[in-house]
Symmetry: C2
Subunit: 391 residues, 2 copies
């Protein structure tokens, strides 16, 4: 099967064959040293916002040979057989990352090892091939390096989307595309309202909610439209008879309570199979744990502070909103980083959620988390979470 | 966006525009009268089993114009932008049908109106465009007519697979492909063993299990492999704390109990949002209801007979297997029609399910149902379920 138009066809030069019998001796993993770059002879300039960059990375896989030769080729359509499984059975997964031009002039990726790890976990769940994450990361760096002039002036970045799937049962294609993106909130941060959703579910125990599969996303479009129709920005996905808070739209969710002794409790649902293991979620948890243990104290957070991964019910949130112990609530994700919540429509009534001063509505915890994470992304706070792309 | 290779590009000639302003005045539905047929100049012969036929049907859709010109073109790859939503978010649905050469020499489709109806229901659930089902059926007939010589000699047929999706947010493509298929069971019918599955779920309340979406299928591959590893052929999807029997692999499920007064009860799970509304399921229910009400008595079924759509628990099945009141169990689907079950691995033990004599293992109810349905498909039993494709 040939995926790419014209002469940019796929190939498997790294198949190991027995020299005597010609039999394949092993399935090969992604091999960055075999990267072929075919430059786009008609590069687009200047980069219009939200279009795609000049090049893309493709790596074919087959069940008989393993991973084939990685190629960076001009961005263009894939030639797919109408019978490929992705078009019928949704056998596909994806990842999204950002590449930044940081304040030190370096091109960086944020915690890309987390994306590589999650991508492999997703692949195993949906019977797609796994791979050497470090090898793929090297190739993504090569792609970002080639199209680095597409990174907008600060505070923009290019978004990098990996996808794996699209094959007939015995073939797959991994591809990476990039697009320049401005700041997520063109008009600055703004708190969002949530529709407490019980008619639809995003995930369920034993399902695929904990994996970044295409199958989790398309079914959310209609519930999102329903939330908008009710006058709310996003779905708050509630689970089970006790209406546990799980996620917000396509973001993880954090709730801040003030306990009786004045301690701030930052709570989020545990990774029980229904919750996507978000990179930003993990970053918030890491920062919060380090502060709570005094390993790395964060300016602006109180000393009496704890991070807890635990189930949170709507009853609890409702009671806390009424008695004044609810401090704030926010979503986390790669796109928005932090997204404060100002209201939940729940069983026909609105629960008002406290927000901070200013149009951004950032509360005492979310403000610190946004500063800490974006500081690491833009290079003002040195961190091994920021991975440099050599130029 | 152009989907098809070479000169077979998509077009929207049926856009209604205001003659003064040029503004579009309406979105158009599928229009069979605009069908263009581009014949394959290099038709394949003779048809190898399970390959694809010479032609395919494509109908483009855009949010600004509605449905464009239907075309029947030589089978070939689709040119898809790597950024299309189906490759990332699984926005796709499908339908499968069969075309038969019946014993009267006619080419027929089996209850295609049911597929058209379900396809529209699926489209609405996943935010894809709906359409005039009768118009699409006309076009499918034109495709089947053109490739009718690919229908194998009895008892084969060609399988017709429709899919809708693959577009960026404002575009979609509906396409239909066909392949010749022999009898489903090359070695004759054989009962299957089931693995009572509680670690994974296929569907859940508020999810998409009741719709024929790609998103429901790829997540089932890994559970199927797990069932095979345990030594069973298919997953028996059990739901909730009471382990309700929902579906079998990708088939609906029927259980036959003998009640205290000797009545045979044919039971199947109700369409509660978790159960796919199968065409064969509906056919079995229709035939069973007609027999029970004496509207159309079926040879071989007892007079004391009832059809009930109700929840069925594993506890009930286990008890019935032990006390001898379990008569048989079978799956239904377009591919196999009827598939008897001989064993369920459940919580570490095997429950033996009665099967009929002979290698097929058909019991008293499934045998009659298979005769009745396949008789209608192959034309030995006249029925308005069988829709003729004019030649």
């Amino acid at each position: 099967m040939e995926y790419i138009y014209g002469e940019n066809t796929t190939s498997f030069p790294n198949v190991a064959a027995d020299p005597m019998t010609g039999e394949l001796t092993s399935l090969l993993d992604i091999n960055p040293s075999q990267l072929e770059i075919i430059r786009n002879e008609r590069p687009a300039t200047p980069p219009p916002p939200s279009s795609l960059t000049d090049h893309m990375l493709t790596i074919p896989w087959s069940s008989s040979a393993g991973w084939g030769q990685p190629k960076i080729v001009p961005y263009g359509p894939l030639a797919l057989e109408p019978s490929v499984t992705v078009l019928h059975y949704a056998q596909t997964l994806f990842e999204g990352m950002k590449a930044y031009r940081d304040t030190n002039g370096k091109v960086t990726l944020f915690r890309p090892d987390m994306n590589m790890k999650r991508m492999n976990t997703s692949a195993a769940r949906i019977a797609l091939p796994t791979f050497d994450g470090e090898a793929l990361l090297e190739l993504i760096k090569a792609l970002v390096r080639l199209d680095r002039h597409w990174i907008p002036q600060l505070p923009g970045y290019i978004g990098t989307q990996c996808a794996l799937g699209v094959g007939p049962p015995n073939e797959a294609l991994l591809f990476v595309i990039c697009s320049p993106v401005g700041p997520y909130y063109a008009t600055g941060f703004k708190p969002v309202s949530l529709y407490g959703t019980v008619e639809y579910v995003r995930a369920y125990p034993g399902g695929t909610g904990g994996y970044k599969l295409g199958a989790n996303y398309a079914p959310g479009v209609v519930p999102q439209r329903a939330a908008a129709k009710h006058g709310y920005a996003q779905n708050l996905w509630l689970h089970g008879p006790e209406h546990h808070l799980t996620e917000v739209g396509t973001m993880n969710l954090f709730v801040v309570f003030r306990k009786g002794d004045g301690t701030l409790e930052l709570a989020t649902a545990p990774l029980d199979g229904m919750i996507l293991p978000g990179v930003t979620r993990d970053s918030v948890i890491s920062l919060a744990k380090d502060h709570a243990s005094r390993r790395q104290v964060l300016d602006g957070l109180p000393e009496k502070f704890e991070l807890v991964e635990r189930p949170i019910t709507m009853k609890e949130v409702q009671a806390a909103a009424e008695n004044g112990s609810l401090v704030e609530m926010f979503g986390t994700g790669t796109a928005a980083i932090i997204c404060p919540v100002n209201k939940i429509g729940y069983l026909g009534k609105d629960i008002i959620i406290p927000t901070g001063d200013g149009s951004a509505g950032l509360g005492p915890v979310s403000r610190v988390m946004l500063e800490q994470i974006s500081g690491r992304q833009f290079g003002t706070i040195p961190s091994d979470w920021s991975v440099v792309v050599a130029e």
